[in-house]
């Protein structure tokens, strides 16, 4: 039995759990190929023009998989806590897919709604195991292993690594520290992000992403807004930003967002206004299927150079 997992959207946030669970359940896990131009083009063909790039990419990845697996996993990610849900496009994802790719007959839709209790996740896993005719014990075992692998993954982030990009320990003594905030599927898809993080690393920048902050540090910033945002990933992003504003442990913040992203017009503007207040250098990078390498390089270099100059001036003033 082959189960296909599209390398898009929530995959980037939760893949260690997903992969481990299905593997330990005894299924063959096939992850779609890393994003290529071909995958992007397929996605563009299947979707309406004003859909955001990540949604287009998801469609492309489903295409990439659907003919070589028995099932294509399409999560309907509703909530993982009681305070927020996901972007409406996550909520409607399976509905969109079944309309826009009519040949897709082997979609395995899994609804994940954990706002009632943590136990729900276990229940979802049990239901899946039952579908594949696996017994309770192998399911339970797979579930535990999956949790463990996810924990391990979050731990690597806290140690200063970025596992989805294969970055292990970064050098803390790099001159410039930059926070790069954005949704996991924007930051960790090297094709979509045009390798932004690696580019920065090559310029001698120490990069921090929202996943590299502890849950506690982020939670502490929850009261900064009058009203909690509705979307889980957006809260992660904005709370990280406030953490950096307050603690001033980075030299600047880069927000990576998708062209036409719904939630981000709110998130980006809120951060922009407050960055000004906290006097934190702030740069928004908007990506879509047409963004070119050249323009991005120039903007990143200019931003980093500006920060370097600023820093050396400050040090000179102190000395």
């Amino acid at each position: 039995m082959k189960i296909g997992i599209p390398r898009a959207l929530a995959y980037y946030a939760y893949y260690p759990f997903l992969n481990t669970f299905f593997e330990k359940l005894g299924l063959e896990v096939i992850v779609s190929d890393e994003t290529t131009k071909e995958i992007m083009d397929m996605g563009i063909q299947d979707t309406i023009t004003d859909a955001c790039v990540p949604i287009k990419l998801f469609h492309g990845h489903v295409r990439n998989l659907m003919e070589r697996v028995d099932y294509v996993l399409v999560p309907r990610l509703v909530s993982i806590n009681h305070e927020s849900t996901f972007c409406p496009k996550f909520l409607g994802l399976p509905d969109m897919l079944s309309c826009s790719i009519s040949q897709l007959q082997n979609m395995l839709e899994v609804r994940i709604d954990l706002k009632k209790s943590r136990l729900e996740l276990f229940m979802v896993c049990m239901r899946l195991a039952k579908k594949f005719k696996k017994g309770f014990f192998s399911a339970y075992n797979a579930y535990l292993k999956a949790l463990l692998s996810f924990k391990n993954y979050t731990h690597q982030f806290l140690q200063g690594g970025i596992p989805p990009l294969g970055i292990v320990g970064q050098k803390k003594n790099n001159p410039i520290h930059l926070a790069v905030v954005g949704y996991p599927y924007m930051l960790y898809d090297p094709y979509l992000s045009l390798d932004l993080i690696k580019k920065l690393a090559n310029m001698g920048v120490y990069v921090v992403t929202p996943e590299m902050l502890s849950e506690r540090d982020k939670k502490k910033q929850a009261g900064k807004l009058k009203k909690t945002l509705f979307w889980t990933f957006s809260n992660e992003v904005i709370r990280s930003a406030y953490y950096f504003f307050e603690n001033r442990n980075v030299d600047g913040i880069i927000h990576v967002t998708a062209f036409g992203c719904g939630p981000d017009f709110i998130v980006d503007k809120l951060m922009e206004i407050d960055a000004k207040k906290y006097k934190m250098p702030y740069l928004t990078i908007t990506l879509d299927e047409h963004t070119g390498q050249g323009g991005l390089n120039t903007r990143l270099e200019a931003f980093v150079d500006m920060l370097k100059i600023k820093k050396s001036r400050k040090e000179a003033a102190l000395a």
Partner: protein, 375 residues
């Protein structure tokens, strides 16, 4: 003294003005959005803000310039953005240096206490229980009447012999309703408006019928949809909109209070295609399209603000739904760049298409359902 203003949407300003004045505040009546409003909105809102956000922001700026010191808006619980509008708008406006208080009325279901607290801020005069009942009854009646005369205008417009007559009558009716002082006036006015519409000379034929679905603001505020209903009516089309103000108020406030799902039917209809509630009115758009199709409408028009998330989801699903139910549909994305002439051309082409299709499939009935309803 509080000088209160609020977003402008359709004719809702009429009952709101009465209501807030009755509570002992001064009202800065928001202006009908104009080019100036929209240019303020686009200037200060982020580029990807949805169109309603920009218009409302522009409206606020104009109201603040006109001396408002309190802005009232409804909130929302998501998952779409509308519920967070106010958080960001307040930040943007304060960042621009305006001083005011933002009062957000959240739907009662989750925040009943906050709601009460906020409403209290708006009550600045002593009122007896009886006053409250009277104010409530009056406002509600006004809402219902405003909806009614609008519906009548949709029905009459395609049948009118003299072009533009229905629009004129409609404007007159709105004025009458706005001028009412007491409940009794309203009952008289109700009769009068009916007579006004009856007096319009009508042809007897079966117009092309188009149902309009989509996001609430662009659906309800004609200046944001370039008066699409008028354009269609004048093309001889009978238009029906899936949402009206009084209907919306009910589903939002009352149903919410009792934790009931509003718009039951539409949701049930949409269920096979759209399994998850995802905010905004995406699911209602699908459900209402099906209802229109079942009622024998010729076409559906979906109005969607540019980048509107739930409508994008709906738009991806609509082709399949409409194919299965045998209706044609047209999606119109609205933002500050949408031009009226372009829109008219697209609408004309769409109506031609529907007429051609009708000729092919069914013989024209002598007396239509609409005409019957009108009789």
């Amino acid at each position: 003294m509080r000088r209160v203003s609020f977003p402008y949407m359709g004719t809702s300003y009429i009952p709101f003005e009465k209501l807030i004045t009755a509570f002992g505040n001064e009202v800065v009546v928001p202006q009908r959005p104009t080019e100036e409003t929209i240019s303020y909105g686009t200037k200060y809102a982020p580029e990807f803000a949805c169109y309603p956000f920009k218009i409302v922001l522009g409206t606020y700026i104009q109201a603040l310039k006109a001396g408002a010191n309190t802005l009232v808006s409804s909130g929302g619980v998501g998952p779409c953005r509308a519920g967070l509008y106010t958080t960001l708008q307040e930040k943007i406006l304060k960042d621009l240096g305006y001083e005011f208080e933002m009062i957000v009325l959240e739907p009662p279901g989750r925040h009943l206490k906050d709601l009460m607290h906020n409403i209290k801020k708006l009550i600045n005069t002593r009122l007896t229980l009886r006053d409250y009942l009277n104010i409530g009854r009056f406002t509600w009646k006004q809402l219902v009447l405003l909806d009614k005369v609008e519906r009548l205008s949709h029905k009459t417009r395609p049948l009118e012999v003299k072009k533009g007559e229905s629009t004129q009558v409609y404007k007159k009716c709105v004025e009458l309703i706005a001028g009412a002082e007491e409940y009794k006036d309203l009952t008289d006015i109700e009769r009068e408006t009916q007579q006004l519409y009856d007096a319009i000379e009508k042809r007897d034929y079966d117009p092309i019928k188009i149902g309009i679905v989509g996001e609430i603001y662009v659906l309800m505020e004609p200046s944001s949809n370039l008066e699409i209903e008028e354009i269609l009516g004048e093309l001889g089309v009978y238009v029906e909109r899936s949402m009206f103000l009084s209907g919306y108020t009910i589903s939002n406030a009352v149903m919410d209070l009792f934790h009931m799902a509003g718009e039951r039917d539409a949701k049930k209809m949409a269920a096979p295609y759209f399994k998850e509630m995802c905010g905004g009115h995406g699911r209602e758009s699908i459900g209402n399209s099906i209802i229109f199709a079942k009622r024998g409408f010729d076409g559906i028009i979906q109005l969607s603000p540019f980048t509107c998330i739930p409508e994008i989801v709906a738009k991806s699903i609509l082709p399949k739904v409409c194919k299965e139910h045998g209706v044609r549909f047209l999606t119109i994305s609205l933002d500050e760049q949408t031009g009226k002439e372009g829109l008219r051309t697209r609408l004309e082409a769409f109506v031609d298409l529907l007429m051609a299709k009708r000729k092919k499939t069914k013989p024209v009935k002598v007396k239509s359902l609409v005409a019957k309803e009108m009789a």
